[in-house]
Each structure stands twice: as C-alpha cells, then as structure tokens.
Symmetry: C2
Subunit: 506 residues, 2 copies
C-alpha cells in the first residue's frame, strides 16, 4: 500500500533536517578542535565525531531514505513538488546512490586508510621521503579506482571524481578551458619576468603588531558587510571559514608578525566564503540546499573578494591611509600605488598556497593533469615525483630540490580528495567572469570600491548567487549571472590587463 | 532464547558510550553558546540541541536498554560483573526506571513548559512581578508532583527530588543537619554583627585591569594543578565549569573592572569543580560513572578550594605579594592579614549568590524549607513571597523591598530544578568534614598552602575522591574519606573558629 506522498515528503524533510543537525553539531566540534580545544581533548572528541558521522551516514543511506526517494522521485509526484523539495530529492538521491553503491566495509576501510595516510603523510613531508608515503598513496588510488567503477561514469573515469566537487564538470571541459588559460598565461609570465619594472615589496615583510592586525581584519570584514552578529573571527594555523547555519558563519585567520599580507588576504578570502554562507536564503534553512552550490563557485567568491576587490587599486586608494595609521612607521614613504603593486608581485615558485594570482592556476593545472593521468591509467603513483618535477620545470621554470617542496606539499591526496584541485582554478575563472558581469551591471564598480561602498557589491552577489545556495547548479549560476557558460577568456583578459599595467609591459 | 550475557554486556557498553557521545557533543555546544557563539546562532543551534537531546533520551529509554538492564541485573549475572559494569548497570537502571515511568508526552510538555517559564521568569524578575510568573510556577509544581507520584518515594515526597541531585539524601537527614547547623550559625552571626572589629574591605572595590585579572586567574589555576593541556579558561556572564571528557574540562570566569574578588573566587571555585573532572580515572572514560558522584560532593570540591584554600590566611601569606604586583597601587598599605579579613567579611544580605561563607547556608535552608513545604502540601505557590520574606527576616534579619531581590532571584524553579538547592550547603558541610580529615592526614596542611605547594593537596583529593567518579555514592565517599557519615559539626566548628578570629570575638 502506498503511503500518501505528502506524508512521505514530511518524513523525508524530517530525515534531512536530522542529517543537517548532525552536520551542524560536527561543524561546531571541528571548529572547536581547530581554534582552541585543549590538546588532550582530541582523543575523546574523535570518538564523538566518529559516532555522529556514523549516525549521519546511516540516515543518508537508510531504508527510510531509500523509500522516500523512490516515492518522491516518481514522475507524477515530482511534478507536484515545489522547487526546493524537488531539488532536495535530486540531491539526496545522488548522494544515496553514491553511498549505497559502496559496500559499508569497503568504505570504512577507506576511512581508516585515509586517516592513517594523513598522519604518515605528515611524517613523510617532514622527512621529505616520498617512498614512505607511496604504499599508502597506492592503496588510496586503488580504492578510489574501485569506487569509480562502482559509481560508474561517463567518458573519463576522472569525471566521477570531479562531479563530487563540481557537479557536471568533465575532463573535456577542463582540458579546453585550462588549455586556453595556459596558452595565454605562459607568454604573459615570460613578459613579466623580463620586465625591468619589478615592484618593491620589502615593506610587506616588516614587523606588525598582532592586536592591530586583528583590529584591521575585523574592520575590513565589517566594511565587506560580514555580519558579526552571525559570525566571529578567530585564529587558527590554517585559515578557514565554516558555515554552521546562516546565523553562525565563522572565520579564522592567522596573524604573522613579519608578514602583513598573510592575515590581510586570508581574512578577505575567508570573508568571501563567509558572505556566501551568511546570505543563503532563510527558506533553505535545515535543507541540504543550504550551502554553496559547488567548491568552484564557493572559491569564486573567496577569490572575487580577495583578488578582484582586496588586491585592486581602488581598494587601496580607499584603505591604505588607515593601514598606515594602524601600523605607524611600517609604511612610511609608501604610496597607495606602491602598495598595490607590491601585493600583486608575480613570482614563479614551488609552493601552491604561496603562489600569486597569475601562477596559481599553473600549480593547479599540473595537479589536474597528474590526477587525470593516474585515473586514466597512463601514470603510476611511483612515477609521480618525476612527473611532478618535469611539469614544474616546464610550466613554471622552477625545480624542487626536495619532495617536501614538490609532490608531498599538499594534504589532499592523503585524504583521498582527488578531483578537488581544479575547483581552485575554476574559482578564479568564475570570479573573473562574474567580475566582468558586475562591471557591466554596476558601471561605477571601481568608484564604489574607491569610496568604500562595498555593501552594494555584496548585495549584488547575494541577489544573484548567494541566496540560491544549491538551488542552482554551478553551470546555472554562471549562465544566470553572466549570460554565458564558463569562459576562461575573462580571466586571461583580466590577468593581462592587470599585469601589463603593474609591470608596464608594451 | 537468552543471548549470552557477555554479548549483552558488550552491546550495553556500546549503548552507554553512544549516550556519552551525545552528551559530550551537547556539552561542546552549550559551552560554545555561553562563551561566544554569535547572537544569531541560537535559533539554529536550539534545533540541533533539541534533536541530539531527543536521541540521547531515546537511547536511555530504548527497548535495547531495557532488555540489557534486565539481563545484566539478574542476580547470577550481576555477581560475575566487574565493579565498573555492575555500578553502570545500577546507574542506568535507575535512570531507565525514572525516565520510563513518565509518559513521553507528559515529559515533552514539561520540557516546553520549563523553557517558556525560564523566559517568563526573566521578564518577571526584570519587572519584579511575581504574579506574572505564578501561573507557570504553579504548573511546574503540578507536573513535578505528578512525576513524584509516578516515580514513587519513601517517606516525604520531596525525597524523590533530592535523590536526583544527591542520591540517598532524605528530608529526615537534612532536617537534622540543617537544624544543627542553624542552631550554631545564628548565635555566631549575632556576635559578628555586634563585634566592634569590622574589617575594612574598601580596597576590594577599586579598579583592576582586566588583562591582569585574566593572567592572575590563569596563574592561580596553574598553582592549583589545573591542567591547561586538558582545559581552558574563558569568560562568560555566569562562571561555570564543564567536563566534556577528562581531557577537556573547561572553566569560565567573569572579570569585573571594579571588584577583584569576583573573578578571583569564581576562578578558584570553578577550578575546584574542574580538578574533580580532570582527575577522574581513565578507566571510567566513556561510562556513565565518568563524572562527579553528586551535586553535593561536586560542590564540596569547588567550595573546598574556594573557601578552605582560597579564603585562608596561609593562601594569602603566599600569594598576596603577587596580587599586589599585578595591580600596582590597588593594595598599597594593605597587609596580607587585612586582605584575608576583607575577603571574609560577613554581611547578612538578600541575594544568595552574593552571600558570604557563613550566611550562605541560611539562604539555602530557607529555600529548602519552602520547597519541602510546597511538596509536602503545607504551602501554596501563591503564598511563596510572603513565606519567603518572613523567613529572610527571621533567619537573616533582612527584608526584600522587591520580589526581584526576594522570591524571584533564582532561576532554579523556572527550570523545574526543585531539590537542587540543598546541594550547595551539603557541599559546604562535606567540604568542612574533608578539611578536618585532610588536616589529620597532612599535619602540615597550612604549611603546604603557605609555601604554595598545592599539588599534594590536589593529589590527596584525587586519590580519595576524584578518581572514583560515580563508582562510590556520596555517602560512601564521605565515610571513606573521613571515617564517619555526614556531620554538620565540622562546618559549625570551622566557621566558629574562623570568624571568632576574624571578628575578635571572646
């Protein structure tokens, strides 16, 4: 006997709300562990986190969930669902199918493996010893290949991995956009390297009072429209933002005593992520749609605020005087334009997370190409260091002397997060395309920044991106905001214009 | 068919560990809400807290729990259980029976009622309007009476309430010990009032830098043996301690700019609670025994550290100089002995939480007598303000002009926590009895304090009290530590000796 679909919908919504509650509780505990939980808390807390994660997974893959999804995705029912419910069913069905295709014991083995691997990776990186990490990496790749087969995929096996972070993204599309971007980045990089007009950035590495850095971070977040009644700013080793619910979106940053840029741009970057989560529509509360639509779109917002706003000339025309006042003596004789050029210095380097806006994408492309080859069967894990170094030499002209500065630098593979890296560059491309659109829509965009009127910018993005959460796919967001699909030329144009000006090329 | 009891035991332990995990997650979220969660977090977080509490309650009263308890409390099985498991079964059975005797819907109504009542109480206190609060109070009392009938009790109905906070305590015992204590407190109070040697405490109300207060609190906690690798110190409006697990026991305090005593003694008080929780035996981790054995014994530890150590003469012989240095100018011309007398000023007053060590117990006795009369049927809720004021006049010689300073001052009744108040004075009596025992056992007790050697004191208490958690009942703890049952004469003797000296009586 069929239950009424409206009853099924009510219990489906409850099930989802329960999953979201587990997720929020876990979010609070992760935030706590990363911001100041006592050292000895960890052992006990890990058991709690394991239990709650397990309960959440059980709900997600429960027979009740399966039954509800089957009933609610029947065509006659689907047509009667409201948009939010229809989209929720779609999302949960995708997750349900993904999760139930992997046998419980295989999944649990994988979780244990990656948690061991993360700790081995730390030691291996410390010792710069790839051989130490290799057996774990090989196993993680083998499990991942097995999972890809179980999930199924269209075209390239790597598409199954991409889809986890950027729904709908494919190697075909990435090859095309990365190819176009690279063909315009590499010549630009060469011109920059040979320019006689290299900016002086020595004043970014002086001594900066920590309390003043904190105040300045707080001030800039307020200027951006970050709502402190729905968030807070703390310190952690690696900066992050976490949206527990739209009324509680927290940011961390890190204050380096001898590097003013680090806290400044970490704060603005995480602030961009946070604006997205704070401005999700209230209607999405307690649903699976109450978060950013993809890693790439999320990253586009952190990078829009960090690079298009925070590293722009008008921004520092407005805020440089206040920065000078906050750090007396540190910026004597420095003009806003000197500061602007200094924070945009381009320098090919070995380490992704320290890369500038231009070379960053080359770091990402290298990882993408290696991952694709691993899962396409053209590359073995043991060959990674050599392949890594060859690509760094080819794309960036730099060579790692130690694997710690090369193939061992990122934690992602130890955690099994293959397919994640492209999100970073997708974020840059989306951000540039949105930047183009907002300038069309708000012709006085630069003037707004120069007058410190950042709220209209936040409102523009909220109206078109933030409030929708996962109600729109990443491709729909980009189409809807910019009137065309992902197009890497916007990023290439933006980078060319910006760096030709800074390095006085042509 | 009977399952093997060892299997039943294994699943019982898992069930308990799961309950404890929910409890720990809830603890983290409560701590977070009280120490700095953004204002707008609360709405979403409340739903999460409600869900997790519900899951915990479900486990506690689940058919699996019922079955396991029945099997494991069979006499033949019980004899084979180890002490920890036997005691766990006992504890969980008690909770199971209590909880399953109340119909789910009645319990949920009660939870909603008390949560509304707490908010009405706040407004009523603000407006000093008892009539506003009365209908809620009447309903809470009616529910509580119904629950008492459902639970059952021996002797006085109030015993069912006492047992929640102080297992095994009865009105018979309390009437006796409170009677003895009162008969010695009231004459002492009269002598103090008429003493010409009133200490000067004006230097406790000057101006004290908040950062210095924080540092001093931190320092004193370290001196007490509080482990900062297993805890942290934060600020909250009302100071509290929370033991999430023995590796994570957090304290809060509150720094008042014009009152040095407040943070000082709040910190030491909460530090005492925390030492208990930090020093629970590792063997009890993940069991229901991994906490203090009762509210009274817990309070005995906070008060032992606050009053027997922190408000003692040798303590300030050791630490006064450092206090002076931390707050330059605030204590000029003040001698350690002046400070000792000032922090022990006795002054009958209206507000319990601001009461001194001597009059505090009278505040508690008043509440106890009123609660007992309410549940004994001799007093109606509507008669409370009058009865309250009459007792304050009789015991303390003070009269509230407004209910906000009288019957409306405490939140306990709004939350339905009848039976809780006696714990505070039980704590004082236990603490004095333990104080007597430790002086017998460590004859150089005062010398240890005067030399700042507080660790042997912490170790003594850990060895005899802290490590056992709920493995011993409160009565067993006191018998085991002091060689006799609860005896109020120790507190009376201690108070007489202390205050006769301070007020130079006889």
């Amino acid at each position: 006997m069929h239950t009424d679909w409206k009853e099924e919908l009510a219990s489906f919504r409850q099930l989802v709300q329960k999953m979201k509650s587990y997720e929020e509780a876990l979010g609070v505990m992760y935030w706590d562990l990363r911001t100041g939980a006592p050292r000895r808390a960890v052992e006990g807390r890990s058991a709690v986190i394991g239990m709650l994660s397990g309960e959440m997974f059980k709900l997600q893959t429960s027979p009740e969930m399966g039954r509800a999804l089957q009933r609610l995705s029947a065509e006659d029912v689907q047509q009667q669902l409201e948009q939010v419910d229809r989209k929720m069913v779609e999302e949960c069905k995708k997750e349900y199918e993904r999760s139930t295709k992997i046998p419980q014991d295989r999944y649990e083995e994988f979780v244990v493996l990656t948690s061991q691997a993360e700790s081995v990776w730390e030691d291996a990186k410390e010792a710069s010893d790839f051989a130490m990490f290799l057996p774990y990496l090989e196993k993680i790749i083998a499990y991942t290949k097995e999972f890809i087969e179980r999930w199924g995929y269209e075209g390239h096996p790597y598409n199954a991995l991409l889809d986890q972070y950027e729904p709908g993204m494919t190697t075909g599309q990435l090859d095309k956009v990365f190819g176009e971007l690279r063909s315009r980045t590499v010549p630009l990089l060469q011109k920059i390297a040979s320019s006689p007009h290299q900016p002086d950035s020595s004043f970014l590495k002086r001594s900066y009072d920590k309390e003043e850095q904190r105040k300045f971070s707080h001030y800039i977040l307020e200027q951006m429209g970050y709502d402190f009644a729905a968030g807070r700013l703390d310190e952690s080793v690696h900066p992050f933002a976490t949206g527990l619910n739209p009324g509680d979106v927290r940011i961390t940053t890190s204050f380096r005593p001898d590097d003013i840029s680090f806290s400044l741009f970490s704060t603005i970057h995480e602030g961009g992520h946070a604006l997205y989560e704070q401005n999700l529509s209230q209607d999405l509360m307690g649903t699976v749609l109450c978060t950013g639509t993809s890693m790439g779109i999320h990253e586009s917002q952190s990078r829009f605020w960090e690079n298009k706003v925070g590293r722009s000339r008008p921004f520092w025309r407005r805020y440089f005087k206040e920065l000078q006042q906050a750090f007396p003596g540190a910026f004597d004789q420095v003009q806003p334009d000197d500061f602007y050029r200094a924070i945009n210095v381009v320098q090919p380097s070995l380490i992704r997370i320290e890369a500038d806006e231009l070379t960053y994408n080359l770091h990402v492309m290298i990882r993408y190409e290696l991952e694709k080859a691993l899962f396409g069967g053209e590359l073995q894990a043991a060959e990674l260091p050599e392949a890594w170094n060859a690509k760094y030499e080819e794309y960036l002209g730099v060579k790692a002397n130690r694997d710690a500065e090369g193939v061992l630098q990122d934690v992602h593979w130890a955690g099994g997060a293959f397919g994640y890296f492209p999100s970073y560059s997708l974020g840059n491309m989306y951000a540039a395309q949105i930047y183009h659109a907002i300038q069309q829509s708000l012709p006085d965009f630069e003037g707004l920044i120069e007058r410190g009127e950042l709220h209209p910018i936040k409102d523009w993005l909220s109206e078109r991106i933030y409030r929708f959460g996962k109600l729109l796919t990443p491709a729909e967001v980009i189409q809807h905001v910019t009137g065309e699909p992902l197009n890497p030329q916007y990023l290439a144009d933006y980078l060319e214009a910006k760096y030709k000006d800074i390095y006085r090329i042509d």
